[in-house]
Symmetry: C2
Subunit: 515 residues, 2 copies
């Protein structure tokens, strides 16, 4: 015992932990919420200054809505459409009035009720990477998005409890015909997962198909679907101050049916927004509030999410930078703006690294802390994003899942009960003793601490003998193990059949003609 | 312009940035402070419960002080020494009274006044890794600590503005004779840097030598040295509830001369502390307060720092785990305890990875955020730590410096002035425009955003053509460039001579006989 005590006293004994590799372990499905106060980078006055600036932008400059239906709705709601243009201006009071109709929180329904999500308040949900044109893993390297990889990424989203929803196509399955791609892609979310999912607002047709797939998946009629939001879409403005036609069509169809629209400006400071974070935030706030006002004009009370995607560019090259100090503070501030306007908040886990290395990890960590401490409600791209969004990585998805689990645990309270304080154990062990064999330790050691699936804590010798694998290499093996043990969730055969028929019919009809 | 606009609209143009590699750039020397409120994981009641539990520990169980001089000081101060043992117990009122004599903040003086450090309040200082037995870089791999690498790590500490002090031997120069090692090692901090530094509390002799070196370095007489703390030491308790003889000797000599003592328990939950974070914190608090009480008993008002080093072990293997959710919450809570007791707070940047990979980065990021948002005043091991402290890595030092810079920038306020809000720019550019050429952008783009030295934001093609180097490989080149451009700081020749004479004399005397 003396030898062990001496070794453990130094820094803890470091025996091999190869047994940890057998069998993937993860946190159970669990509601995640941030019980800490948000970090507020803006003072109350600064927050108001940004809000006022954005209302001035909408009042004086206005925004272009590249679709007559949007202009109609906005005119009917009291906005000022400039004849012969696509420009709409809003009295500040009108904006605030419309935005005030949006709910501060709501439930996002999945086909499996265990996977319903609360959006708003202190609740946090993590979504998979979305919209990457390329996909990557260590074995195959970087390749163009394809359906096989797409399906595997979807399967991983299902298998990982910390990923709460599929928040886009993890990778664009470019080998599928553009006219009908959305049918297979969205249907796969229903067959391979029983979690909440997303449909792209790429025009009316695709949006309606996605909504129908969501309705079928939930075994709901139209009226229940409207009572129970079951699909979300990201509507990006074309910063600065524009909303394009296809996005508008998607927004309208979702709003009409009370489905969730997350309005997200893409305000890269120095490129599509002023070269200051305050200016980018003012513009972001204007665009988000205008988009949300449009949703409310279509259907008052329709569920929306306030999206922030403010970062800076590298001014030397124009390359977008992510996970930067600017990004973090913009994430904090975006949360303040969302809360000021009574809206749930969307932020993201992003980085600009080309390889799943320390840079990918630290930029992602910065993004995660920025979002979480900004009280994010929907974290987009929470798992899998690389290269500023150009590539979805299998290994990064695993790395992110590990980091998200760690963050979820940080948000848990500490047990400070008398049992936890352990005075009896401290008395029993006494000065100079050790706790390995204490009753207090034995009672709780198996579940005492968070157990990561990716971190390797073996000593250098054991780790070297075990192949000297870095985290990315280990993540590679983990994703493969997960795919091997993937279990397709059960699906009511009637729903499966209706879904299949729908997809087949729409394909026969040619899907969306102008892709 | 249209082509460029289209490309830049998509995601920002991603031109090669090889010019960024010419010439290392870093943030200027700057005071760092956390202007945000701390994250408080413990409620007021929970905080009190831990405090009360620790006072009960000291009152009822007590602590062993393995040196008669400590027991003498404590008896004189009113503590209850148990005859025939090394056990001392403290009335809770006595502990609180003694601790209350410690200053809440103080200045730590360097030989270059530009490098004086404020300890306490909202101020944060970052120290280098300390005490690693091994050192590593990509070229030479992992090797036993040696003087050549030691000196190079010291040089890097000098060259990096974000590293505020040398907070230990970055690596133990094991090839130097143990009897005289400390003389060369501490003297190197004076000749190769002009920053604050540390001396190990390994017995009276070494401590006195380090204090003398600090006095010489500052060109001060004894009385000015005492008015101007110019050296710090870490005194680790031997958790649980013991303080060993050599540490006590060091503590006493430092306290007598009003030099800084950072009392740091080493409370690994499940090993040297109860298998609960609350229990580990109660024990940490007891040991830290007892050590600080001893310092105050030696010399009331002597500057001290409350140290926390609470983490968990991997219960499967006994291996210490770092940067875990437990570590983060313990870092938050340690800050609350330090502030409750009116003391500056020490935490650390730590990880348990064996290689400078994504795990090293995310565990370190977790540690950094935990410490900073816990309102750390002294962050030990802020740069260079690997493998749970067993290895100092050159690449990790660079990686950490980058991450610390990023955090320092996050703590800066946003400019929300009218100029920053940029309404004129937003008017000028208008819906659908872009900001690359706007006056507002051109006026500020060169300094608008934080410019990292380690992150690579080139597009995948350019990055691949440039050698596909990951962050660790780039860090390797950066450290070499820094060493090549290292400039030894000027040193008053009279001081240099006195230092050399002192070291020579002590070596002739044989240094410390029993090493």
């Amino acid at each position: 015992m003396a030898e062990e005590e001496r070794r453990s006293r130094r820094r803890g004994s470091r025996r091999d932990t190869t047994s940890a590799r057998r069998g993937f372990h993860q946190l159970p499905k669990r509601h995640v919420e941030n019980r800490f106060p948000p970090i507020e980078v803006l003072s109350a006055d600064e927050l108001q200054a940004i809000q006022e600036a954005s209302l001035t932008i909408l009042e004086e400059i206005g925004m272009d809505f590249l679709h007559p239906e949007a202009i109609d709705y906005l005119k009917k709601a009291g906005a000022a459409a400039e004849p012969g243009t696509q420009r709409v201006r809003f009295d500040r009071a009108l904006v605030l009035d419309l935005v005030s109709k949006a709910p501060a929180r709501f439930t996002f329904h999945a086909r499996n009720p265990e996977n319903h999500l609360e959006i708003g308040g202190r609740s946090i949900v993590f979504g998979s990477v979305g919209s990457a044109p390329n996909v990557s893993d260590l074995d195959g390297g970087r390749r163009v998005g394809n359906y096989k990889d797409y399906l595997n990424l979807i399967r991983l989203c299902q298998s990982l409890n910390i990923i709460h929803l599929v928040s886009g196509y993890p990778v664009e399955p470019v080998d599928l015909d553009p006219s009908t791609r959305h049918l297979d892609a969205v249907a796969a979310c229903v067959t391979l997962t029983d979690k909440c999912f997303h449909g792209y607002a790429l025009g009316r047709g695709r949006m309606l198909d996605a909504i129908e797939i969501a309705r079928i998946a939930r075994g709901a009629d139209q009226s229940r679907l409207e009572r129970e939001p079951s699909l979300f879409t990201i509507v990006n403005t074309s910063s600065p101050l524009r909303l394009d036609g296809p996005m508008i069509e998607g927004l309208i169809e979702m709003a009409l049916r009370n489905q969730i629209v997350a309005i997200t400006p893409f305000t890269l400071s120095g490129a599509m927004a002023p070269a200051t974070i305050a200016g980018a935030l003012a513009q972001q706030n204007a665009e988000a509030l205008a988009g949300i006002a449009l949703v409310q004009a279509v259907r008052p009370g329709a569920p929306v999410i306030y999206g922030g995607f403010t970062s800076n560019v590298d001014m030397k090259s124009g390359a977008p930078a992510f996970g930067t100090p600017e990004y973090v503070r913009a994430a904090f501030a975006g949360g303040q703006l969302a809360r000021l306007n009574g809206l749930p908040y969307r932020s993201s886990n992003v980085n600009a690294s080309n390889v799943v290395d320390a840079q990918a990890a630290y930029e992602s960590q910065m993004s995660i802390w920025g979002a979480v401490m900004g009280h994010v409600n929907l974290m987009m791209h929470a798992a899998g994003w690389m290269e500023g969004g150009l590539t979805a990585s299998f290994e990064k998805l695993i790395l992110d899942a590990e980091m998200l689990q760690g963050m979820a645990e940080v948000l848990q309270p500490l047990d400070v009960s008398p049992e936890a304080l352990g005075l009896d154990a401290i008395r029993e062990v006494g000065p100079g003793g050790h706790y390995f064999g204490a009753a207090h330790t034995l009672e709780r050691y198996e579940t005492a601490f968070y157990s990561p699936f990716l971190s390797d804590w073996r000593n250098f010798e054991s780790w070297s003998e075990g192949g000297a694998q870095d985290a990315t290499r280990r993540a590679n093996q983990i994703y493969k193990d997960l795919l091997e043990s993937y279990e397709q969730p059960p699906l009511d055969p009637a729903i499966a059949e209706e879904l299949e028929s729908f997809v087949e019919r729409r394909k026969r009809e040619g899907g969306i003609e102008a892709a």
